[in-house]
């Protein structure tokens, strides 16, 4: 997704529009099929049920050809990887069956260490035509600290895990020894191999059918098409400079960070500049590729959600932020919890563009990807277990519709883990899982509701919670009121946590409440029937109905 690659994409493609469309759909179904293989073959709950993984195809220059509809955040890890591989490994030395593995935020193009990427060059007629790439969030590297990246897990630059189809056992052993749950890691790495293998086969079959030149030309045409649609969409927005400011908090730090953005729309291009304090000794920092993937996601949703998710959509966008700041961090900043700050960046863009496209933006969402990580020893065999889950919350109210209740928003979209899968695998009991009454910000359109999840530990474990909007509530728009804040409550005799970290003994209880989201428009303009039914369904109480809505 860089300018050098733009020249390639701009090549005029002499392929008929139906073939371009068929090949474009084939690319998306290849990435979807890769994702299904990864999920079905994997062992870890984070992949097989929560689907915290992504798959994509890239061209030889590192341009995204297609990303499956999984987790927008993961694009940030993909777009950095190919250039880093090419920097270290000459293309002419690559062989069919080579598989590169990497995760590092500074030497591997990654956005945080648990996201291990496997990339395999796709050979057709003896030369590389594209890359099959996938990422799995390996829920490991737990309970290690986040002062700097060296605490956060094993840093893997792009190296060969397979050489001409042969597993490099010493490399794999080095990786596995640094992991707390090696059996899961091994099986998830195998599942990642299965996904890329499928991608390689399907792309080769596609080239056999249409001819490699046609496939490559169609791929280029698809990027041009995405660019045209983005430019047309941006051109239709009013020119101007739009600013917004907000604050960011998380359990790791005391107080709040001031964050802001300035967006300039001129013709068919958009410049986005972000500002934040210097990077901190905590895992909240964002790398530049994390910032890029956040901007690409947000602008696509606001300009035209149907634009194909390929590199063409990035061409009209220019993204800047001070180097060394929390939104564009440099070595050795810790980055594990970058996702919640990314969510705040999305809200910033919405806040700024509310003046330009009020009918398309939404009020502030729950503002986090609230996560809770448990780690301990299994009572049955003393093996280490690590369990990570992320909890959705309210999605912002829209111009003509209420916000969505209890969903993952913006940069993430992982599933919850069924209770019946969770309790079989880990010494935890889920006591409640519900929408939080009253958490949707009042408005003409009501904000979405947050979620409450209450866990009881059945064995000793270390616990870490991470998220945001514990101090400031998600804001409303155009007279809409803020939604509920998030919180963490300990019960059953548990000792209070320090900066989000602590321990639970058997029988102790932790309750996580995630934020709701802001309302849109003045609450007194809300349809009376909607207020009545919210009241009947217990989504709000009589006091709020009277106070905020005058009901």
């Amino acid at each position: 997704m860089n300018d050098a690659a733009g020249a390639q994409g701009a090549r005029i493609a002499g392929v008929d529009p139906i073939t371009v469309e068929v090949i474009g759909s084939a690319l998306s179904s290849i990435t979807e099929e890769m994702g299904e293989a990864l999920i079905r073959a994997s062992y870890s709950t984070n992949i097989k049920e929560r689907r915290d993984c992504s798959t994509a195809l890239f061209d030889i220059h590192g341009n995204t050809l297609c990303q499956a509809e999984h987790i927008p955040m993961h694009l940030g890890s993909f777009i950095g990887l190919i250039p880093h591989i090419l920097k270290r490994h000459p293309m002419e030395q690559m062989r069919p069956g080579d598989v590169f593995c990497g995760n590092d935020a500074y030497e591997g193009g990654g956005t945080h260490l648990p996201d291990i990427v496997l990339a395999e060059p796709i050979f057709v007629d003896g030369s590389i035509i594209a890359w099959a790439v996938n990422l799995a969030h390996h829920a490991d590297f737990a309970d290690r600290g986040h002062a700097h990246i060296y605490q956060e897990g094993l840093r893997i630059p792009p190296i060969r895990l397979y050489r001409a189809g042969e597993l490099q056992r010493d490399v794999q052993e080095l990786i596995l020894l640094n992991c707390q749950v090696p059996r899961e890691r091994l099986s998830d790495l195998r599942a990642q191999m299965a996904a890329n293998r499928l991608g390689v086969q399907r792309m080769q079959a596609l080239c056999a059918k249409y001819g490699r030149e046609i496939v490559l030309d169609a791929s280029a045409a698809l990027q041009d098409y995405a660019e045209r649609k983005m430019r047309a969409g941006i051109a239709a927005m009013p020119d101007g400079t739009y600013c917004f400011a907000d604050v960011y908090d998380c359990p790791e730090i005391d107080g709040e960070l001031a964050v802001s953005c300035e967006i300039t729309i001129r013709g068919d291009e958009m410049h986005l500049h972000f500002d934040a304090p210097r990077q901190v000794r905590a895992g909240l920092n964002m790398t530049y590729t994390a910032l890029l993937s956040t901007v690409y996601y947000t602008v696509k949703t606001l300009v035209d959600p149907t634009v194909l998710p390929n590199a063409g959509l990035a061409r009209p966008l220019h993204v800047t932020a001070p180097e060394g700041s929390a939104v564009n961090c440099v070595h050795p900043a810790a980055v594990n919890g970058r996702l919640s700050l990314c969510q705040r960046v999305v809200d910033l863009i919405h806040g700024a563009l509310a003046a330009a496209v009020p009918e398309r933006v939404i009020a502030a969402c729950n503002g986090a990807c609230f996560s809770i990580t448990f780690a301990g020893h299994q009572p049955r065999d003393n093996a280490i277990w690590v369990y990570l889950e992320t909890i959705g919350g309210g999605s912002g109210a829209r111009a003509t519709k209420d916000g969505l209740d209890g969903v993952h928003v913006h940069m993430t979209n992982t599933s919850n883990l069924p209770v019946e899968a969770l309790e079989i695998e880990y010494p935890l009991t889920l006591l409640r899982y519900e929408l939080v009454d009253g958490s949707g910000g009042p408005g003409k359109q009501r904000g979405g509701m947050g979620l409450r999840r209450i866990y009881r530990a059945e064995a000793d474990c270390r616990v870490r919670v991470d998220g945001s909007r514990l101090l400031s509530p998600p804001w409303g728009l155009f007279g809409g009121l803020p939604g509920g804040k998030s919180s963490v409550v300990l019960n059953g005799g548990a000792v209070p946590f320090d900066h989000g970290s602590g321990a639970l003994r058997p029988g102790e209880i932790i309750e996580v409440v995630t934020g709701g989201s802001g309302g849109y428009g003045p609450p007194e303009q809300r349809d009376r029937n909607a207020v009545g039914s919210d009241l009947a369904e217990g989504r709000l109480d009589a006091t709020t109905a009277r106070g905020a809505y005058g009901f």
Binding site: E21, V22, S25, A26, S28, S29, I30, E33, A37, R40, A41, Y43, K48, E49, E69, P72, R183, S187, A191, M193, A194, R197, L198, R202, Y297, T301, P305, R360, I362, I391, G392, S395, R398, K401, L404, D405, G406, V407, H408, N413, T414, S415, N416, P418, V419, E420, A421, E423, I424, T429, R432, Y433, E434, L435, L451, S533, A536, E537, G538, R539
Partner: protein
């Protein structure tokens, strides 16, 4: 004489197909549907059909039925007011689902409406653990109170879903008993009887959909059963399930959730058989009726079977064919939207009042009216002359629409066809292009009352080169009911590690399933020689959550079984994922028996080639408006019943028959193949 009868009831027409087991004779009949009570149209069709072939209703030896009652109730949210009772702390699960948003990038997308409102989702103290131990016994008094609360709130159906209800069933069984005592008039269902599998949200969703549709299906089936009995039909009526298999009416009443794709799957089975006869195995089925259109893709003659799917937004755990439905058909209403664009559907004029040309008082033009104005459809009569229509009314309605678009009436009529064709093309892309299949490699099988009328334009849009129009396209679904074996699936989930120690349980599981299958064979009256069973075991590595089906050949369960399963699984895993995790324990998860009763099927005779000359079948000439010349062109109108094997017809031409009209475009040639199916190809 023994007649096997298939009846397919759609939103607009009810079709009946009759097959004489002794002589092999096949006859078809069609009547208008009666959407307020479809059973009326069905019994009428059976009575008329039997009279038509000169048979007595008592001679009917088999009655098969495909219906869209369940799916329509789900699409239109016309199920009953339903309550849900669940484990304390989890009433919002139905709404939260898997916490994913409905669309990754579209911020305006919404989740489908929750089928049970929050105030009718009640919690009771009760908690099972994953190993089947009880942490909190079911609070019976609280459950009683919840049942009364729902009764007082006026619900007609109650779903019960407790955590781990499928592992240890006693809490749900107690719940069922209390419901039967306290609220017997409600339709009640408990999760372990509907979908006895883990993942509580999907199980809950399936149970709720089942409850929501239960009273609708119950009332429908009861009415239909009664009417058929009154008519003199003495055999147990059967119904198609979403997987293309067939079950008795009684079972369909208990598990309506398994019939949500009943109607559409019947058409896929019919198309599959017709395609096989004609020698084509890569097919895209295009079943366009009056109200909706179903499309599916068959590769090597098989339609993909899913064990779980999201139907109209709701996850359902039940085996079903991969069919995509769009709410547009011949009765779809054309209108100008707020942005000034011409739109068609999803509102439909249905059978009553029907299109404007039916002259039953409907005023907004439909797709059928456009065809009547263009004269692709007969301008005076439909249903082979049985039904008079009014072209003047249709034209007046189209002219009014044309005025609001500032367009010419004929261009507007053709515009309606273009818009509906684009909608259909998009539906076909979902099952082909989006799954990685190029539609140009497939044969389009066009059926349903409106399929053959629109197939040629649709094929052009998708660059499909070959269209197959079955001999009786309008009643292919009804015929499909007589072309398929009876089929039932039996399954039991029991988690085991693959080893010799598991063998007694494996043998036990299969003998239980075998007994169920035998009981079913007995109940269906299937002779021992006609019984077929196949066994499979769903297997995975310990740690995975998705299984691969491994066939288990017939034979005693013994030590050799372990090796056979281990090898079968390793091969399947290698094929699917490209690796084998040697040394990792392998789990047996679900045991399955598929039982098939081979029944006498309608068979078709090949007819000798009489040569290309089709002039003997020309019934008339008619002016048909073609956009290619922007005017009327005189076209021959052929009588389908007079066309013979080997005949060739160059377009433009119209081919009429009682149940459908086929349009052959100017650059196409239609030929009649030996089984009297029409093959349209680009000249």
């Amino acid at each position: 004489m023994a007649w096997r009868v298939g009846v397919d009831s759609g939103g607009t027409f009810t079709d009946v197909c009759l097959f004489d087991e002794d002589s092999g004779r096949v006859e078809v009949w069609k009547v208008a549907s009666t959407p307020d009570d479809p059973s009326r149209g069905i019994t009428q069709s059976v009575a008329e059909g039997a009279e038509h072939v000169g048979a007595s209703v008592g001679a009917i030896s088999y009655f098969g039925h495909g219906t869209t009652v369940a799916t329509n109730a789900l699409i239109q949210h016309r199920g009953v007011k339903t309550g849900l009772i669940t484990t304390e702390g989890f009433r919002d699960l139905l709404e939260i689902g898997r916490q994913k948003r409905p669309d990754l990038y579209d911020l305006q997308a919404d989740k489908p409406p929750v089928l049970v409102s929050r105030d009718l989702r009640l919690e009771v103290p009760e908690r099972m653990r994953h190993d089947g131990t009880i942490e909190t016994p079911l609070h019976k008094v609280a459950f009683w109170a919840a049942v009364r609360e729902l009764r007082d709130a006026g619900v007609q159906a109650v779903a019960v879903c407790f955590l781990y209800g499928f592992i240890r069933t006693e809490h749900e069984e107690t719940a069922r008993r209390i419901l039967a005592e306290e609220f017997p008039e409600a339709f009640a269902c408990v999760s372990h009887q509907v979908a006895p599998e883990f993942r509580e949200f999907e199980r809950m969703s399936t149970t709720v959909v089942n409850a929501y549709l239960g009273p609708v299906m119950q009332a429908y089936i009861r009415r239909l059963g009664d009417r058929l009995a009154e008519l003199g039909v003495s055999v147990t009526p059967h119904m198609t399930q979403s997987n293309g298999g067939v079950i008795g009416f009684e079972q369909a009443t208990r598990l309506p959730v398994r019939t949500v794709l009943s109607g559409p799957s019947t058409g896929v089975v019919g198309a599959q058989e017709v395609g096989r006869l004609a020698g084509f195995s890569d097919l895209i089925t295009f079943d366009m009726g009056g109200t909706s259109t179903d499309v599916a893709l068959l590769q090597d003659g098989q339609c993909r079977l899913a064990s779980e799917a999201v139907v109209h937004g709701y996850p359902i755990k039940a085996p079903m064919l991969d069919i995509h439905t769009v709410g547009a058909g011949g009765g779809s209403i054309a209108f100008v939207d707020s942005g000034g664009l011409l739109k068609v559907g999803p509102r439909s004029a249905g059978a009553a009042p029907g299109p404007v040309c039916y002259a039953h008082g409907h005023a907004e033009p439909t797709v059928t009216d456009a065809n009547v104005v263009l004269q692709t459809l007969n301008p005076t009569h439909l249903l082979g002359g049985r039904m008079a229509i009014r072209q003047d009314l249709a034209r007046a309605a189209i002219e009014q629409l044309a005025a609001s678009l500032s367009m010419d009436a004929m261009a507007t009529a053709q515009g309606i066809i273009s818009v509906v064709t684009a909608n259909m093309a998009r539906a076909i892309r979902v099952v082909s292009v989006q799954r990685g299949h190029d539609p140009r490699d497939y044969t389009l099988v066009a059926f349903g009352g409106a399929g053959p009328l629109h197939a040629a334009r649709l094929a052009k849009e998708l660059e499909i080169r070959r269209i197959l129009v079955p001999r009786n396209p309008g009643i292919l679904c009804a015929m499909g009911l007589l072309l398929t074996d009876l089929r039932a699936d039996f399954a039991a989930t029991r988690l085991h590690t693959l080893s010799t120690e598991a063998l007694p349980d494996v043998a036990d599981a299969f003998s239980t399933l075998r007994a169920q299958a035998e009981a079913w064979f007995g109940a269906e009256g299937i002779a021992p020689a006609a019984r077929r069973t196949t066994r499979t075991v769903d297997m995975r590595y310990a740690g995975q959550n998705y299984e691969l089906p491994v066939p288990l050949p017939e034979g005693e369960i013994g030590p050799a079984t372990v090796d056979a399963l281990a090898e079968g699984f390793a091969a399947a895993h290698q094929r699917m994922y490209g690796f084998v995790a040697d040394g990792d324990p392998v789990q047996l998860v679900t045991f399955r028996i598929e039982a098939a009763g081979v029944v006498p099927k309608a068979s078709f005779q090949a007819h000798p080639d009489v040569g290309p000359d089709a002039s003997g079948a020309i019934a008339a000439r008619r002016d048909v408006w073609l956009p290619e010349v922007a005017g009327f062109v005189s076209c021959p109108v052929y009588d389908r019943d007079k066309l013979q094997s080997g005949n060739r017809i160059a377009g433009p031409a119209i081919i009429e028959q009682m149940d459908a009209t086929t349009v052959v475009l100017p650059d196409m040639v239609a030929r009649v193949e030996p089984y009297l199916n029409l093959i349209l190809e680009v000249a």
